[in-house]
Subunit: 194 residues, 2 copies
């Protein structure tokens, strides 16, 4: 058996970086092959199709967020506020430096009417995120308010990331995070005084 040039993780990471800058339809198999140091045809030793590759990339990314980022919200060694802070910090890293956070949104919008399989994964990512935030807000708000707050918090962060990208203003997300953290602290204070 010949040694493979690539392990699965490298393949996915290389492919992600291409998809990220060119989008789904904008990326050709040739582009992907080049990024992986292969010829176009050889790619099909690793994958079944372009679509299945993208689906795997999306799924891996989603799973990564859920298990490595969102899980911070349930770390009982920390106070709720500290957990939120950790999450915000990680989000900033992801969106600003790794530039990988809005990827799911971009692809979701681009392929909404053409590849339902993508939409499903992306949708579940946001549901997970919202649920995570809802849990954290449940410490300072009642059920219904926590849900609403969580939904808008995610929308707000996504909106900030979006404007950050479109207007090339890196500070957008940071300021949003600061605002959300301050607000949370205020909610905690109100809760205590009740």
């Amino acid at each position: 058996m010949a040694k493979p040039k690539l392990d699965r993780k490298t393949l996915l990471r290389n492919s992600l970086s291409v998809f990220k800058t060119m989008g789904y339809n904008g990326t050709s198999m040739n582009d992907l092959a080049k990024a992986n140091g292969l010829l176009k045809g050889s790619m099909y030793h690793y994958i079944e199709s372009k679509e299945s590759l993208m689906l795997e990339v999306l799924t891996a990314l989603k799973d990564h967020y859920v298990s490595r980022v969102f899980n911070k919200a349930f770390d009982e060694t920390l106070q709720p506020y500290q957990r939120l802070k950790e999450l915000a910090l990680r989000a900033e890293e992801i969106f600003v430096f790794e530039e990988g956070g809005d990827f799911l949104v971009n692809i979701g919008l681009e392929t909404k009417n053409s590849v339902p399989a993508f939409t499903q994964v992306i949708k579940s990512f946001f549901q997970e995120w919202i649920n995570t935030m809802k849990y954290l807000y449940s410490f300072v708000l009642d059920e219904a308010d926590a849900k609403e707050k969580a939904e808008f918090m995610v929308a707000e962060i996504e909106g900030s990331v979006l404007m950050m990208k479109l207007l090339d203003d890196v500070n957008y997300l940071h300021r949003t995070n600061e605002r959300l953290l301050k607000e949370y602290k205020e909610l905690e204070r109100q809760k205590v005084y009740k």
Copy 2:
């Protein structure tokens, strides 16, 4: 035939509706021709290239928003709060029913690294929107705060539209608008008591 089948406006509207559902790279000249009741070759009687067509669509859309929607903010026959309300209402119509509002975002993200000409138009749309909002907030906030508020308001609305689309939840934007309007009223009240 001396008479063209299409006037410019119809051409742009038909093309927009295709670009909207399939994106830029996902739309072929054949798709565009079909939507306009023409064969592919005939399209080139109207346009120079696919890219120039899209650019015209984007520009027309942007100009429409600026002259027909954003200008409400400067309608001196109305109180500032009423102007904001008008804007919010129009925004809801546009984003929910015409489904045309997030188009600029979608295309902006899809082509960010490949077609700079698009990016420029889209960027200027958001700058105009932010400036419009900044003007309205300047009635109840000082210069710096108005600017910040305007930036986040636009991000918030865009985020809501985004989540609305990705999660198929039509209420998102409406609730965001209600929240923003209530907040504005509160800011007005605070201003008066100062």
